[in-house]
């Protein structure tokens, strides 16, 4: 089933729609957002200069750093009273990235998530258990309203308490699971420990997102749960989940191109790359009111495929995201930047500037360890001082990162010193 006829527009009509929306959004940000007006003026660019989709490349990029500098509301294109919802995700430093939605944005968001869940195979009769956290993170609420829009029965179970999740699944006869792929594996593990066979719980579909995963992981999930496992993609800066998602073919994620104009660029040079080539995904939001973004650099690596899909949709498909152009880590579905860790450590006397992050996967759960050197002059010889220090580091990191880290004090000068860029992160996970 196809949720919206726009998903099947002939290429020519889609491009016509995209151009007219692009012109509108450029005109809007030029008028409403001083940041963009200045950026365009610097380039001698006026909204009227955008005459074709090819003119897109004349527009400036927007980065996560721009959002940070303009924290919290600097890039919003509407006054605060027009906003009805705020979400946030972790930024590269202490400041989170804040996004705002108008009433219309929330309607758009529900529609876009509806497309994603329908193309994955969700039906109105489904009982859908959402195991994403509800809160500032866009995952929970985004899927929630999109699924309600479709008419599915939503169980807002939120994240955690795995035994309870399993009980809800059994009692409510859940048919669709929404979670991160790793959490789905973990639930299966707990089920088996409880003497349950996940494949016999009656689930027929998994909607997975918010962390990268592999084809191998998909096969494992499908074999364990006996359901179809589909991938969907989004990020809070763009809207949250609902940017793109897999159809039943499971061969690339259809981008809602009438709302998100995609390009692939060379992350080094910023040059646009031809279809099919791998590079950084850049998205211009075409319909957002609250926080419209021109050429937002997602830092995600993928490639675009414009060939027709047997499912009948004509929208371009992006390949499953294979990596990042920056050092962002995704740990238990949460975005973590090494710079956040660094900032916390710099503020704590007693630990040195040298640290190392080790990410590993124990079973199906990510483990996040920070090793930091004890400052030589801080050592008092007292055991309690070291324990207090370790606890302080752990608590401060937890506050900033929103995940519980393991902290290990190591000897001064025991971490590797390298000339130039230090190897701060060791990611042992095989995804």
């Amino acid at each position: 089933m196809i949720w919206d006829r726009t998903e099947t527009l002939p290429r020519e009509d889609m491009e016509q729609l995209q151009l007219s929306r692009l012109q509108t959004v450029v005109r809007r940000v030029y008028q409403k957002v001083p940041f963009y007006r200045e950026r365009l003026q610097e380039r001698g660019l006026k909204p009227a200069h955008i005459r074709s989709l090819a003119d897109l490349t004349r527009l400036p990029f927007t980065t996560k750093d721009d959002l940070r500098v303009n924290y919290p509301y600097g890039l919003f294109a509407v006054p605060l009273e027009k906003l009805v919802r705020i979400h946030a995700s972790s930024g590269t430093t202490g400041r989170p990235t804040v996004v705002g939605y108008t009433k219309k944005d929330l309607r758009t968001w529900s529609e876009l998530v509806a497309r994603v869940v329908v193309q994955a195979g969700t039906k109105p009769r489904d009982v859908v258990q959402i195991c994403f956290s509800y809160g500032l993170f866009t995952g929970g609420f985004g899927l929630h309203y999109g699924l309600e829009r479709v008419g599915a029965t939503v169980v807002p179970a939120s994240a955690g308490n795995t035994q309870r999740q399993l009980r809800l699944m059994q009692d409510f006869h859940t048919t669709v699971l929404v979670s991160t792929p790793t959490y789905a594996m973990y639930i299966a593990e707990v089920a088996q420990e409880m003497g349950l066979n996940p494949a016999q719980l009656g689930l027929r579909l998994g909607l997975f997102g918010s962390e990268p995963w592999s084809e191998g992981m998909r096969q494992e999930l499908e074999a364990t749960w006996g359901f179809k496992a589909t991938d969907n993609y989004g990020m809070s800066e763009l809207i949250g989940p609902g940017v793109s998602g897999e159809c039943q073919m499971q061969n690339g994620l259809h981008i809602s191109e009438d709302h998100f104009l995609p390009e692939i660029i060379d992350p080094e040079t910023g040059e646009q790359l031809p279809p099919g080539e791998e590079g950084e995904l850049v998205i211009t939001t075409l319909t957002k009111e609250g926080l419209p973004l021109l050429r937002y650099r997602t830092r995600d690596l993928t490639a675009l495929d414009y060939t027709p899909c047997p499912c009948g949709r004509t929208t371009v498909r992006m390949r499953r995201v294979t990596g990042r152009t920056d050092d962002m880590l995704i740990v238990r579905g949460v975005n973590v930047f090494p710079s956040q860790v660094e900032e916390v450590l710099m503020d704590i006397p007693g630990v040195g500037p040298h640290y190392q992050i080790i990410v590993d996967r124990q079973g199906y759960l990510d483990e996040f360890e920070v090793q930091v050197e004890l400052a030589a002059d801080y050592f008092t010889g007292k055991f309690r001082d070291l324990e207090t220090l370790e606890r302080t580091v752990k608590e401060r990191l937890q506050t900033i990162l929103q995940i519980t880290p393991k902290v290990k004090l190591v000897e001064y000068k025991s971490l590797e010193r390298t000339v130039g860029k230090a190897k701060r992160v060791i990611d042992k996970r095989r995804i």
């Binding site: 004890l374 050592f379 324990e387 004090l409």
Partner: protein, 143 residues
């Protein structure tokens, strides 16, 4: 009146303790007493050696994280109840012991126990008043 103890911060990884003791051996230091307190991640090695100032310098130069602390060397009669009496006295005086460990060798007929307390001088006064001998570093480091 009190003796200098060296504390070394050690990561819990194989070979670190060996590295410290090897270094001290190579420089001719004799370890008189030692104790280790540890968690799964790190430990503190406490040492009494002859010439602690020099040992401290050697360890630092080799890159170890070291600190110096003063502790008491208390003579305890080497018989049942010997240590208990000393601890009772400190307890009655309200003096808390952070940690203690024992010497391997004896001072004459008595065992020698190293103690870290907050108020060293008060502990000395309490114990001396009851006829308990506290050894200074001149004796301890030469045992």
């Amino acid at each position: 009146m009190w003796v200098k103890q060296i504390s070394v911060f050690l990561e819990n990884k194989s070979g670190r303790l060996a590295a410290v003791t090897r270094l001290l051996a190579d420089h001719g230091f004799n370890i008189r007493a030692l104790s280790i307190a540890d968690t799964s991640d790190f430990g503190i090695l406490r040492l009494i050696v002859n010439d602690p100032a020099h040992a401290n310098r050697v360890l630092k130069e080799a890159g170890f994280t070291v600190s110096e602390t003063e502790v008491l060397a208390v003579e305890v009669p080497d018989r049942p109840g010997g240590l208990a009496r000393v601890l009772d006295l400190l307890h009655q005086a309200g003096i808390n012991i952070e940690y203690l460990y024992a010497f391997v060798s004896k001072a004459g007929e008595n065992a020698l126990v190293l103690m870290k307390v907050e108020d060293l001088q008060r502990a000395v006064d309490v114990l001396s008043a009851q006829g308990i001998t506290i050894q200074g570093h001149d004796v301890v480091h030469q045992i």
